[in-house]
């Protein structure tokens, strides 16, 4: 009797083992389930670009614009954007102090998920090996871009210390655990990681052509590398990589120039290296700059117009001439506006309110190339001048021969380049970083409506405070010098 009991019970007991608790999650949206096959990875690649777009659409572009010397803020926007614009931001301010950080790390998190799960997908999805490589390439690019942008916003420029040993941001090249120690790395370590990722990206994506400018590519990796080396003042590499890109991606001609920015999602543009596709999204950029849609946040500082000659299309793109396509109340008006972010009112209704921000384009490569040639050990000022002339000629619809530049040394050339960068790349996320990496003071014009007109380099306010939430949640996190928690 007892034996029978024992046997029966033992059988019953042993049948309940740990495996019973491993519930099959495939088909569910758990992260592991999502990445269990190629389609999930493909979706993640799209989603990753969306995170970059979301990061750019507000944080990346607005941050630079509000910190630099090109923009004025409308009265209706002053509440939200005032602290940034007037340099009164504190670690308690959510807007930018936290949102820039979080949206940047969202890109990194999504990239890390792809890079973690993709190798496993490769084992089973043998027919998609090339596609998987491509998506991993996207992830390397995105991770590099986000680290680079975050580091520039939260850390002083690379050349702030001689060996870039000042605090950067936390480098994250894997999926971290909740209890991991997440301290800041040095700026050098961040840049090293960025370079490593971009080179890995080139490896996976190839560097011959761009098949679609709405997605990261090997050439985009090269172009970003050129910018990274420029910020590092590694002139030789900056020259090498910008030259590589220039050789493959020509400038958009004069006739296409305005369309490059204002054509909406249907227009990618000849010189575009990477543009983020905002199709069917609610674009913050578009609303922020459109003077006739209601709710305009920003317009150019009137001083900007004085930088351009009368024949420069880029100067004309600082005013919005209302047409019949605009609401009747605006007919006949000319309003100050950044046309780069004002879609043609004639665009289809669905695309009227979306702006696709440009991340990289060939014109920037010309400027990097020129700056590298000017500052390298054996300067090539004529070469630099040729780059500048190409941009001026295109903008003024002239031939290169009709453009004259006067310079007598590298310092002159650097001034020319700085001005050309203002003219060509205004409102595209460069100017503020140009000021601080050149260790110059921020000087705003008399027509700026900011309450602060001058900040002398160096200054703690040239970087964002780490948000108090991050300080609280991450014990290893150190606040930027100058800010108090």
């Amino acid at each position: 009797m007892k034996k029978l009991l024992l046997i029966t019970l033992s059988i019953l007991l042993l049948s309940g083992c740990e495996d019973y608790l491993n519930v099959d999650y495939s088909g569910k949206s758990t992260t592991a389930g999502f990445f269990s096959e190629y389609s999930g990875l493909e979706n993640a690649g799209q989603g990753l670009h969306r995170t970059m777009l979301d990061f750019y659409d507000d944080n990346v572009l607005f941050y630079e614009m509000l910190r630099s010397d090109q923009l004025n803020v409308t009265s209706s926007a002053s509440d939200q954007y005032g602290p940034l614009f007037n340099y009164t931001l504190t670690p308690n301010d959510d807007y930018m102090s936290r949102t820039y950080y979080n949206n940047g790390y969202v890109v990194i998190t999504n990239a890390n998920n792809i890079l973690t799960y993709a190798p496993d997908v490769k084992k089973t999805e043998l027919s998609h090996l090339a596609d998987i490589d491509r998506i991993m390439g996207y992830a390397y690019f995105a991770r590099a871009l986000a680290h680079f942008l975050l580091c520039n916003a939260y850390a002083q420029p690379y050349n702030y210390t001689a060996d870039a040993s000042h605090p950067g941001i936390c480098v994250m090249d894997h999926i971290p655990g909740f209890n991991d120690n997440l301290p800041r790395n040095t700026v050098k370590e961040v840049y090293d990681q960025v370079i490593k990722d971009l080179k890995a990206g080139i490896e996976l994506l190839g560097d011959e052509t761009i098949s679609d400018q709405y997605y990261a590519s090997g050439i985009a990796c090269e172009a970003l590398l050129a910018r990274v080396y420029l910020y590092m003042e590694d002139w030789d590499n900056a020259e090498t990589y910008s030259a590589k890109v220039i050789s493959k991606i020509p400038l958009s001609p004069y006739s296409e120039y305005e369309n490059l920015f204002r054509g909406g999602p249907d227009v990618k543009g000849t010189e575009t290296i990477l543009k983020l596709n905002a199709y069917a999204t609610t674009s913050t950029l578009c609303k922020a700059f459109n003077p006739v849609a209601g709710g305009q946040l920003f317009y150019p500082d009137p001083v900007m117009e004085s930088y351009y000659g009368d024949d420069d299309i880029r100067g004309k793109m600082l005013n919005y001439v209302c047409t019949d396509a605009d609401p009747a109340a605006y007919h006949g008006l000319t309003l100050p506006a950044v046309l780069k972010y004002c879609i043609y009112p004639t665009n289809t209704a669905q695309n009227k309110m979306v702006v696709c921000p440009i991340v990289l384009r060939s014109s920037e490569m010309y400027l990097i190339h020129a700056e590298a040639l000017t500052n390298k050990t054996n300067p090539d000022l004529a070469g630099a001048a040729a780059d500048i002339k190409a941009l001026e000629a295109r903008a003024r619809n002239k031939s290169v021969d009709n453009i004259s530049l006067s310079y007598s040394n590298a310092s002159d050339m650097n001034d020319i380049i700085e001005k050309e960068r203002i003219k060509e790349l205004d409102f595209e996320g460069h100017r503020f970083f140009d000021i601080i990496r050149r260790k110059k003071d921020l000087v705003r014009s008399s027509t700026s409506n900011s309450s602060i007109k001058k900040i002398t380099y160096p200054d703690y306010r040239f970087v964002l405070p780490i948000n108090f939430r991050e300080i609280q949640a991450n014990e290893a996190m150190e606040q930027n010098e100058g800010y108090t928690n």
Binding site: M1, K2, L4, L5, L6, T8, L9, S10, L12, L13, L14, G16, C17, E18, Y20, L21, V23, K28, S29, T30, T31, A32, F34, F35, N43, A44, G45, Q46, G47, L48, H49, R50, T51, L53, R98, Y101, N102, N103, Y105, V106, I108, T109, N113, C170, M172, I175, P176, G177, F178, N179, L182, Y214, N277, Y279, A280, R469, E470, Q472, A473, N474
Partner: protein, 1012 residues
């Protein structure tokens, strides 16, 4: 892990093979024989003792005993067995052979307490805190929902109306709130099978306005409910026991022969208007609207509500409550048939219940059938099988009373010609008076009449247990519970509803169809052993439980209908159709054991252990260990105590238990992380996926540790008193908190802190008069509870408008800006700032934490009065609350007077310099924060509610016998006849008019019950 069951088994075997040592003496003879039960089965382990000594033995596997007793004279021998009447037999000097049959002791059934898994403990030796509710305490209550029945009957149990609409929803809380974010609902166990009561929010996934699983059971099938509150009894329920466990035992047939019972109940119900918010009538409203308008700086000539060809405002005074309510009714028919013949017994029951709400458009019909068979195959094998099914059709119109009473009384639901009113005509400008049509979105009458909104619920349950009894005292049980729940919810918004009719889009009418399928399987295998060896009494159990829960839901919706006839999504505009589906699964596996040992009926120790694994937690924290220990000292069994207390006090026993349990009911995606594909992650129109929640592999269950102490005693054998005090510490409380944004941007569910709850509960019963013809019994219970946030992760966002979570403070304390009244000189609102200075500027920063204002009552509970006179009996049930504050805006400043009606308190506002008024100067459209997070919105909750009165007359047998009826009874029942609150005043608002979001429904019904 795998060793554990073997160990348990070994422990069991030791009990089995335990034998009390025999006694040897010279002048002795051997008395032997068998101890049997009434059916002739041997009673293994029955004790056989020489009366008054510790000399004795126990019966073996065949019921045989042998004991040495004196051969010179007659000896008294005591035969006893758990659950049987003890016999003391005088054995004559010559007798050496004596067989005895012990009869089962029915009175013992009342003296034992079940805590599930086949474990019964004697009440006087109970180590834990258990409250029992028997069928006679609930049979006269409204049969709509099982959870609501328990209100006021169980000390420490709160039933809170969580209603946002007239579709009532209740939260059950046992001993306060031991969690922040995970489910705080107790675990319901029906006949040993955990019941699925919805996800962590108590809702069925995929369904918007579900019929609660709590309304699927018919109370008529319930025999008893045990509410387990301490760790000693709940730890064995492991990861689901932290919020308390409610064990429901359904009826089964215990007798032979055929018996049929039928009962019918019919009742009408109406709204108790004194419990609904009282708002301004038409003329009062118009007066205040105009005053607000003028005070806001506009000219009376541009006042919007001036009579015009379409709206005659000055003559309209619509009582919107009248428009939406009517007379409700309840109808109930129950039938049960018991049949049995020794080995096979059957109980069949069928019930129909129909509840037509006083809120027109809400009607529920429930059909239940149940069949329960108990078989006794042979002496060692028996089975208990139960099938039941419920079908509920629920017609819904989920409007909120808050919205009804805020509708302007100067509007009418219909136009003069009787058609629905879609527009009201009034001016909307401030400078120019120009009448324009404005759509009347608050007119829900077309929705009520024309929309289709209902849910159909079908639930099927199977319960089966097979018990094998290899020898008396040992039972091997397999218990299987399977339940399937399907719900279909239909929601069609008519093209003639105000919203659809007046919207500018030509895509009109919208339909959604939601379906949910859940199934649960629970399998329990356990071995129970009960035995008494002399003065030792042992109850032991070991077992395994598997559970498997699966759920799926489908939702389809579509817009754009050409008419109201085809309401299905299929007929909607193809460009406006959407569909989604979801699914999920959880499993758990547990090993458990429990043992209770009592020595000499005086000292009892109980211990339990459960190890539970749960699939929702990742492998790092999948398993949880839950254990408890309990002690009871039955002092009254000690002669010295007895002599000390008699005759005043009897039955004194004290108990203490300590243990832990968990709460696994969390969002199951939390530990794995999720990716979501949604339009916010699309890129360039291509489907994109982004991380939604980061994986939190370290996530683990909340761990509750409970210390409970209690004592019970009787005074003059008339008053019984039961007091329990507890301290509950919940650690690793789950909440959505932040981690470094480097890990994830969003919040993640994590273990953020600890909460403690402590309290005292009492439960008393007084049999004041107990005469053959007349009786008066009173029951009173109450509970004090207080909680404290012991530890909170620093970044847990904790400002919730009116309360604040902060370390060291109660979770229930209000956090408000102190109201300082109205400036008599100009009617401006005044507040106190943080430092106690009067200020005219409102700031949320001036909120102060006020422990003296708690949103929970200090003391709450219920009492019942039962009178009996000959064939009559009268029952009265009360619930009460003492202390505590309720937050509700009654006083206003006129901000929204043009769009919503206000409580009558609006009349009392500042008008002229020198006025001491409750409300500031009346001004429309001028937001002055006077109703924002302020102490002036607090009302005392002290109240007593007479929730049920029932009068029953048992028709004397002599009258019914000739009709072939065994017994018959008639009852008259009143539900919610009266509600009293502190500070109530006729014509004014007080806690009385805001305590119940939909008011109280007063019902009167009559019931006839006949047994053939």
């Amino acid at each position: 892990m795998k060793k554990l069951p073997i160990v348990l088994l070994a422990v069991l075997m030791i009990f089995v093979s335990f034998n009390a040592a025999g006694q040897t003496n010279r002048a002795l003879k051997t008395l032997s024989g068998k101890v049997l039960d009434e059916t002739g089965d041997p009673l293994v382990g029955a004790s056989v003792f020489i009366a008054g000594t510790t000399t004795g033995t126990v019966a073996d596997l065949d019921g045989n005993y042998s004991i040495k007793i004196s051969k010179d004279k007659a000896v008294s021998v005591t035969f006893s067995f758990i659950g049987m009447k003890t016999e003391v037999v005088s054995i004559p000097a010559a007798t050496t052979q004596y067989n005895i049959v012990l009869k089962s002791d029915n009175s013992l059934e009342a003296a034992v307490v079940s805590s599930g898994y086949g474990i019964v403990q004697h009440r006087e030796n109970l180590t834990g805190a258990v409250t029992e509710v028997t069928s006679d305490m609930i049979e006269k209550l409204p049969a709509k929902r099982v959870d609501k029945l328990l209100e006021g009957l169980v000390a420490g149990l709160e039933v809170n109306d969580a209603g946002v609409s007239v579709r009532s929803k209740y939260h059950i809380r046992l001993r306060g709130e031991g969690s922040l974010h995970a489910s705080r609902e107790p675990l319901w166990v029906i006949d040993g099978v955990p019941m699925y009561t919805g996800d962590i929010n108590g809702t069925i996934p995929g369904i918007n306005y579900e019929t609660s699983p709590m309304s699927l059971l018919t109370p008529d099938d319930i025999e008893a409910i045990s509410v387990l509150k301490d760790a000693g009894t709940t730890a064995i329920y492991g990861a689901d026991g932290a919020n308390g466990v409610i064990l429901v035992t359904t009826k089964k047939n215990k007798g032979d022969g055929l018996s049929v019972n039928a009962s019918m109940k019919y009742g009408v119900s109406m709204l108790d208007r004194s419990t609904v918010l009282r708002t301004l009538n038409g003329p009062q409203y118009l007066q205040l609207a105009l005053e607000g308008w003028v005070n806001a700086g506009y000219s009376a000539s541009t006042f919007p509500y001036q009579d015009n060809a379409y709206n005659s405002y000055s003559t309209t005074d619509t009582d919107w409550l009248d428009v939406y309510t009517g007379v409700g009714s309840t109808k109930q028919v129950n039938l049960s048939i018991r049949s049995g013949s020794g080995k096979n017994r059957n109980l069949f029951s069928a019930a129909w219940y129909n509840d037509k709400s006083i809120y027109i458009g809400n009607e529920m019909s429930r059909y239940n059938i149940m069949d329960r068979m108990t078989y006794k195959f042979n002496d060692k094998l028996k089975a208990d099988l139960k099938f039941n099914a419920s079908y509920v059709f629920d017609e819904m119109f989920p409007i909120s009373v808050e919205s009804i009473v805020a509708t302007l009384p100067i509007f009418t639901p219909y136009n003069d010609d009787g058609s629905y009113r879609y527009y009201n005509y009034f001016s909307t400008g401030t400078d120019v008076y120009k009448v324009v049509p404005n759509s009347f979105q608050k007119n829900d009458i077309p929705d009520r009449d024309l929309n289709e909104q209902n849910s159909t619920t079908l639930s099927g349950n199977f319960y089966g247990s097979i018990v094998y009894e290899p020898f008396k005292g040992m039972e091997l049980t397999s218990e299987t519970g399977f339940s399937a729940l399907t719900m279909l919810e239909k929601d069609y918004e008519s093209i003639k509803s105000v919203y659809e009719y007046t919207k500018s889009s030509d895509v009109k009418g919208s339909s959604s169809r939601n379906a949910s399928f859940t199934y649960n399987l629970t399998e329990t295998l356990r071995a129970n052993y009960n035995a008494t060896f002399g003065k030792h009494r042992v109850t032991a159990m070991a077992g395994i439980v598997w559970t498997n829960h699966r759920r799926n839901s489908l939702q389809a919706s579509g817009q754009g209908f050409s008419n109201d006839i085809a309401k299905e999504v299929y007929y909607s505009n193809a460009d406006h159709r959407n569909g989604v589906s979801y699914g999920g699964q959880e499993r758990s596996l547990s090993y458990m054991t429990m043992a209770v040992y009592t020595f000499d009926k005086k000292y009892t120790v109980s211990a339990s252990y459960r190890r539970q694994g749960y699939s929702s937690f990742s492998t790092y924290s999948r398993w949880g260990d839950f254990a408890s220990i309990g002690l009871n000292w039955n002092a009254y069994a000690e002669p010295w105590v007895k002599s000390l207390l008699e005759p005043y006090v009897s039955g004194l026993n004290v108990r203490i238990s300590y243990g832990n349990n968990g709460n696994s009911r969390v969002d199951t995606s939390s530990s794995y992380g999720t990716y979501s594909v949604s339009s916010s992650s699309y890129y360039g129109g291509n489907p994109g996926g982004t991380q939604e929640k980061a994986a939190n592999p370290g996530l683990s269950w909340e761990k509750a540790t409970i210390l409970n102490g209690g004592l019970s005693f009787d005074i003059f054998k008339r008053f019984s008193v039961n007091i329990d005090a507890y301290y509950k510490y919940t650690d690793d409380v789950l909440y959505d908190g932040r981690v470094s944004a480097v890990v994830t941007d969003g919040k993640i569910t994590k273990n953020v802190g600890a909460i403690s709850n402590k309290g005292v509960e009492f439960d008393t019963r007084a049999d004041i008069i107990d005469h053959k013809d007349f009786g008066w019994t009173m029951r009173l219970n109450g509970a004090f509870n207080s909680n404290k946030i012991e530890r909170l992760y620093k970044d847990t966002y904790s400002g919730f408008f009116q309360t604040l979570w902060i370390e060291g403070a109660s979770k229930n304390a209000y956090w408000l800006v102190r109201w300082a009244g109205v400036d008599p000189s100009n009617g401006d609102p005044l507040w106190y700032d943080k430092n106690g200075n009067i200020t005219k500027v409102f700031s949320s920063d001036n909120r102060v934490l006020m422990p003296q204002y708690s949103n929970k009552p200090t003391l709450y509970g219920g009492f019942t009065e039962t009178f009996r006179y000959k064939n009559w009996s009268l029952d009265m049930r009360f619930n009460y609350k003492i202390g505590g504050w309720y937050y509700h805006n009654l006083h206003n400043d006129g901000t929204n007077i043009l769009t919503e009606n206000y409580p009558v308190e609006a009349m009392d506002h500042w008008r002229n310099p020198g006025d001491i008024a409750k409300s500031p100067k009346w001004m429309s459209g001028n937001y002055r924060y006077t109703n924002t997070e302020t102490t002036r919105s607090l009302y005392k909750m002290t109240s007593v509610q007479l929730s049920n009165v029932s009068l029953q007359y048992q028709i004397p047998e002599r009258y019914v016998k000739m009709a072939g009826v065994k017994s018959a009874a008639v009852s008259l029942i009143a539900d919610n006849p009266y509600f009293w609150t502190l500070g109530q005043k006729a014509g004014k608002n007080s806690y009385k008019t805001i305590a119940y979001s939909s008011g109280l429904t007063r019902g009167f019904s009559a019931e006839l019950s006949i047994t053939f």
